[in-house]
Assembly symmetry: none
Homo-oligomer: 229 residues x 2
DNA sequence: CGGCGTCTTCACGGCACCGTAGCGCCGAGG
DNA sequence: CCTCGGCGCTACGGTGCCGTGAAGACGCCG
């Protein structure tokens, strides 16, 4: 029952290190150094999880992630150098489930991989993605940023918290009372219309067509939920 | 699988020593003695990492670093004599990722090279760079200096610590409470406005236009973060 | 088809948050 | 003893965020 990992990275030294770490942690790693081979290897071996460098020769990690995501729901963890800066926002929207910034602690990487594999161990993911395919937004929790189509969307603190609350459990409906408690900290019910207003403001910023919301959906008579497609 | 190192140094004795050390540590080194050859060799062999002496005949290490950085993101580790001091500031902004001061312990050099290559082992880098392209500042942690556009920026100890705390995890937002703990050592919350004031003082010194900060950014309702692009 | 409840949309005022300037203490160095 | 830089603290003004109220649109029911 050892998980098979596909590592996509063009840095041989890093690959070697990952090999040692992953094997000692009970994973079965395989390695490729560029995007084309990554896709072929993925289709061939169907790994349980993919580790993907953002910077690759030729086909970028972004394209690889998109391609894999197009044909599988396999967990993808991105490796990014902090110097990548400009590409980060775009990279995160490509369908990755989580990311770690180089240099990273091997333990942290393994913890995040395990968390993606078995939902039991709760390392809060750095990235949350919601919305139907073709209309997704990505939330970078520690950076407190939200992006769509590679553009950062400016949100107020309250809007951000509300979005995160919904995105943490996509498809699950939250009543206004629950949201008031989780986001506002109100212990016992206040005016629930507050929630309506802020959902509306949020939609105005993140929905391409706020009149037909696809990311934050209304469940009439109950509350709201985040859509995933 | 073994990392290829391009060593740029005009001192044959040092080169010989480096050859022995690097080979014994599993690297595959190649050597050139001046800047022009360095560039040619780099374009030709595309090494995994570059070791670069700051003092070179003809084209200086600074220019070489800039040229390489202009066409590749390859890790560059500078070798500097402690007597260089004056040139160091300029050299550090040329795009190097780390540096070691001669005379150095072979073990330290190798550790720093590994840290740049396999990002897993975290040797804290000597150099931190933050700010958007074209408006970057470089922090030399052991030297306790900060420079922008080749000019050293004078900071007080507190300002320096605050800047380093933010720069160690760029893009990530820090609350004022966390900063008070990390920088001031206050265990449980004091007046967080203290942080505001020092951020402002810091900006006055490092931001070209303090009214439109690009290096230290405010995240309203949350805290501050260092920008990278 | 009509009515009612639910949700959406807009406008507006209070206020928390942040940026900025200024003052005073304290310790280091002359 | 005096000077000066570094730091803590307060005060004040502006900006944008948030909460409320009220009217308009929509869907679900009889």
């Amino acid at each position: 029952m050892r998980a098979r990992v596909l590592v996509v990275d063009d840095d041989p030294a890093l690959a070697e290190m990952l090999g040692i770490v992953l094997r000692s942690e009970g994973f079965v790693p395989s390695f490729v150094a560029d995007g084309e081979r990554a896709l072929a290897a993925f289709r061939d071996s169907r790994p349980d999880i993919v580790l993907l460098d953002l910077m690759l020769p030729g086909m970028s990690g972004i394209d690889v992630a998109r391609a894999i995501r197009g044909e599988s729901g396999v967990p993808i963890v991105m490796l990014t150098a902090k110097s990548d800066t400009v590409d980060v926002v775009l990279g995160l929207e490509s369908g990755a489930d989580d990311y770690v910034v180089k240099p990273f602690k091997p333990k942290e990487l393994v913890a995040r991989m395990r968390a993606r594999l078995r939902r039991g161990e709760d390392v809060a993911p750095e990235l949350l993605t919601i919305g139907p395919p073709g209309n997704q937004i990505t939330i970078d929790v520690p950076a407190h940023t939200v992006s769509r189509d590679g553009e950062e969307v400016k949100l107020t603190p309250l809007e951000f918290d509300l979005l995160v609350a919904l995105a943490r459990k996509p498809r699950q409906v939250f009543t206004r009372e629950v949201l008031l408690e989780q986001v506002w900290g109100y212990r016992h019910a206040a005016d629930t219309r507050l929630v309506n207003v802020h959902v509306q403001r949020l939609r105005a910023k993140i929905e391409p067509d706020p009149e037909r919301p696809e990311i934050i959906l209304t469940v009439r008579g109950v509350g709201y939920k985040a859509g995933t497609g």
